[in-house]
């Protein structure tokens, strides 16, 4: 078997742009709304084909979200495409009031989320989005792991008729989702069965969790791996199954740990089936470094995932 680290890797922005164009050809209601991010959102081809349906408001994120709400009011399905930190952070009150509270069918596409702008520093990292958007319970919060899930998430969102927030990863990753795996919103994808410990992961950390599971197997520890691609609504059933059937849960996310995926899992576990947990993620503003360096720095390396799992499985 080829190790995941040797497989071809992908940037999800390409499939995002291609899928959007496919959809726009079929449905005149599809519009793209962005903040001077035509290039970084990979929307140049969309612009060529649908120049009037690309609404570029310039560098003005609050207005961008409001304009999307107005377009939704007029019967359009806006895909708002914007670098993660400015989409969730700069316009958070608009996301709350104009999108979530109005319950408009707007798809918020957080480009280059997490720490993918590594060296540019914390101002350009979007690690708080899980916590912030999860608090807006009317927004479905998706964190696809690879291009296949990104495409599936977009195809689901366009028909959902409600607010959706999704990460569009820039960090290159291999495909980990089997070609025949359905994308079921609110239902974790079981990538590997296991009976000793459960690794609950999401987004670009899915390959690292799978690699850790292989190493754990070599040490005689059977690790279950769940790709929790939907952060809200959370798959409580899968979490409780993990809590009751394995000896502990390690969560890992490219996000701040206060209020993110690990916290969400802990809320479920602590109330219904207390078990041991390790919550791996970003703990504070990052120092300078590449995305990959920063993941390791914050304990999201394969080695540390293995170490954390071993502590629980013992």
């Amino acid at each position: 078997m080829t190790s995941l680290s040797q497989q071809e890797t992908f940037d999800c922005r390409k499939i995002f742009a291609e899928t959007l164009i496919e959809l726009a050809r079929q449905d005149e209601r599809i519009v793209a709304v962005c903040n001077d991010s035509v290039g970084s959102s990979n929307l140049n081809d969309f612009k060529k084909e649908f120049s009037d349906r690309l609404i570029n408001v310039g560098i003005a994120e609050q207005n961008m979200i409001g304009v999307a709400a107005g377009l939704a009011n007029s019967g359009f399905i806006p895909f708002v495409s914007c670098a993660g930190p400015f989409l969730s952070g700069r316009a958070l009150e608009q996301v709350k009031a104009d999108v979530a509270y109005n319950m408009y069918p707007i798809i918020l596409c957080a480009q280059s989320p997490g720490m993918s702008y590594g060296e540019l520093g914390p101002t350009h990292h979007s690690i708080e989005d899980f916590s912030w958007i999860r608090a807006l319970t009317d927004i479905t919060l998706l964190s696809p792991a690879d291009p296949k899930q990104t495409k599936d998430a977009i195809l689901w969102a366009v028909r959902a008729n409600k607010p959706v927030y999704m990460r569009i990863n820039r960090f290159k990753i291999p495909q980990t989702t089997p070609n025949n795996a359905p994308f079921e919103v609110g239902k974790a994808l079981v990538l590997k069965e296991g009976k000793d410990v459960t690794l609950i992961t999401t987004g670009i950390l899915v390959p690292r969790a799978l690699e850790a599971a292989v190493l754990l197997e070599q040490q005689g520890i059977s690790a279950r791996v769940l790709n929790m691609h939907t952060i809200n609504p959370l798959d409580k059933k899968a979490i409780l199954a993990a809590a009751s059937q394995t000896r502990g849960i390690v969560t890992m996310e490219e996000a701040i740990t206060t209020g993110g995926l690990g916290a969400a899992v802990a809320e479920v576990v602590v109330e219904h089936h207390p078990t041991k947990m390790r919550i791996l993620g970003v703990s504070h503003f990052a120092p300078t470094g590449s995305a990959s360096f920063l993941l390791d720095h914050f304990g999201l390396s394969v080695e540390n995932i293995v170490k954390s799992a071993c502590e629980l499985a013992r």
């Binding site: 207005n63 999307a68 709400a69 009011n73 007029s74 608009q94 509270y101």
Partner: protein
Amino acid sequence: MAKVQEVLNNNDKDRLLKLSQIASEIRVDIVNTIAAAKMGHIGGDFSVTDILVSLFFGVMNYKSQDPNWADRDRFILSKGHCAAALYSVMAKAGYFKHEQLGEFMKPLSFLGGHPNRRKLAGIEANTGPLGHGLPIGVGCAIGAKLAKKSYRTFVILGDGELQEGSNWEAAMYAGHRKLGNLMAIVDRNRLQQGAGTEDTNSLDPLADKWRAFGWDTYELNGHCFEELLKVMEAPSTGKPKVIIANTIKGKGVSFIENRVEWHHKVPSAEQNIQAIKELTHS
């Protein structure tokens, strides 16, 4: 300008008188609604009343019995705290029954302290935090153009609200896109919650600011139906239009007018009687 004159000639006395009567009834409804709920924003409600009445009973196309009619003109009350005024107008326009105004701010009511489209059909946007209405209105106006529809979008803004930067993001973009199907009306009562706008963070020269952002800009008496209709009904020049409507906060009741403390003060039983007396005898 000839076209403006034509419109003006159509504004016969009967029409203006009717609007004036409606406005008087609306103000009575507002004061009763707020007195019953013991909550509300009476000062701003009264300053914006005549603007709302002009739009709902003079200018806008809508079907209150079919509130989601696709071709309706869009209306957004960006100063959402003046919900009592909007509800009073919507009740009179037939969106819901007049007696339901008594539900205002009651537990689980569909008439909350700020408008909610998930509870009341006809509300286009849930406002309350300031600076949200104009960006949404810009989106509606772009949407109408993209869909090749002829409906127009109207947004009422508070003047204090213009201290929120998001309004200027939206104003800049509306000017850039030449959204001639968009109209903003600023309720220029010159008072915000705690003091005068010019004492807090001055807005003047307000008309110059809008003009610089590419808007057709008008200043008028926001309690004069003739002026309001004349400008609201004047054909678009292809630019977004803004009306700076000079108003009096608390307009219509002597002891409320122009007093900063009446931003959200609630009238006592005696004051309620006095207010209704003034509103019905003027």
